[in-house]
């Protein structure tokens, strides 16, 4: 046998949680519903008073999220590099897909791309226009090697 909620308790709860009983936390809501059944008139007045404040609060305008802001946020987000999006994450994805061979290839490609990006005279369009991009890439690599000590000029 549970104790019935008092009207004072109901009033405080209605003030806090508002006039919509479905928004009240459990087990408060169940207790409140029981009191509403037992004392419909008294509780109706209290719910109505809380509901009037709910309506007034609803009149406060929502902030418009403009398309310009949306574009700005997406652009800013795209520019920021996720710290958790690490090489490890990328490798897990590759291994998870069962493409073991791609691992070595992507590592080589990554090293190649990094070196090429720093190689003098490199541009993606130069590789794209080349008859044999592989040969062109090797020529660029050779060209970027320091003849004096064999180290990469990058």
């Amino acid at each position: 046998m549970t104790t019935m909620m008092t009207l004072d308790r109901f009033e405080t709860a209605a003030l806090a949680w508002g006039g919509d009983l479905s928004r009240w936390p459990e087990p408060l809501r169940r207790e409140a519903e029981a009191l509403c059944t037992a004392q419909p008139e008294r509780t109706r007045d209290l719910i109505a008073a809380a509901g009037r404040l709910d309506l007034a609060l609803a009149a406060a305008p929502a902030a418009p999220a403009s398309l310009a802001l949306r574009s700005r946020v997406i652009a800013a987000a795209s520019r920021s590099r996720p710290t958790g999006w690490s090489l490890g994450e990328a490798l897990r994805g590759i291994i998870g897909a069962g493409v073991g061979a791609a691992l070595a290839a992507s590592c080589i490609a990554g090293v190649l791309a990094g070196v090429l990006a720093n190689a003098e005279g490199f541009s993606p369009s130069r590789l794209a226009k080349a008859q044999d991009p592989g040969v062109e890439a090797m020529q660029l690599l050779r060209g970027s090697q320091d003849p004096a000590d064999g180290s990469w000029s990058a």
């Binding site: 405080t12 404040l53 996720p82």
Partner: protein, 184 residues
């Protein structure tokens, strides 16, 4: 895009964390209005709220890959990030208040109508005058429609303490806005 729409929020967040442009765009579309409204109501300033919203999403992407789905809903977690940014700004601008400021009673005047935008402004003003913790409680529960458990967890208080903040805040609002329904 249709498959992305059906995708769970958790999967979307993880994809966004891997830099997937479609996932980022979809999450911003879904969540920006909520984050913006939260910041707008906490700060009372549209431009500042937009800055906070942008920074919230930048922080979200930076850590999205580390986000643990089981720990908290992404929406709740976004709220936490946005609230922290709001409090940073409130602290910097020294707008933190712990007691209600003295404000002359702006009761009904002979020339004051009850246009919807007037009501909205009055509510905005009254909300802005509340101590931050009371305002935060009302914004989270009433406007953001978080459950009592989510809101209390975000605020780091018990549900009873949340109820107390809500009751005090709403009592002040009811008193500040009482003329609205006296005239109705």
């Amino acid at each position: 895009m249709s498959s992305a729409l059906a995708e769970s929020e958790e999967d979307l967040v993880l994809r966004a964390g891997r830099g997937d442009a479609d996932a980022i765009s979809l999450i911003v579309t879904r969540k920006l209005p909520r984050v913006l409204n939260l910041a707008r109501r906490m700060l009372g300033d549209q431009a500042e709220a937009e800055d906070v919203a942008q920074e919230t999403f930048i922080r979200a992407w930076r850590t999205a890959a580390q986000w643990k789905p089981g720990k908290a809903r992404f929406d709740t977690w976004l709220h936490r990030v946005a609230l922290n940014l709001c409090y940073d700004r409130l602290r910097k601008s020294r707008r933190l208040t712990h007691d209600p400021p003295d404000r002359p009673d702006e009761g009904p005047g002979p020339d004051r109508g009850l246009l919807a935008q007037d009501v909205g402004r009055r509510v905005d003003q009254a909300l802005g005058d509340l101590p931050e913790r009371q305002r935060e409680a009302i914004v989270l529960v009433h406007y953001q429609e978080l459950s009592a458990a989510e809101a209390s967890s975000l605020m780091g208080v018990s549900i009873e303490a949340l109820e107390s903040l809500l009751a005090r805040g709403r009592r002040t609002l009811r008193s500040a806005l009482a003329d609205l329904w006296r005239e109705a």
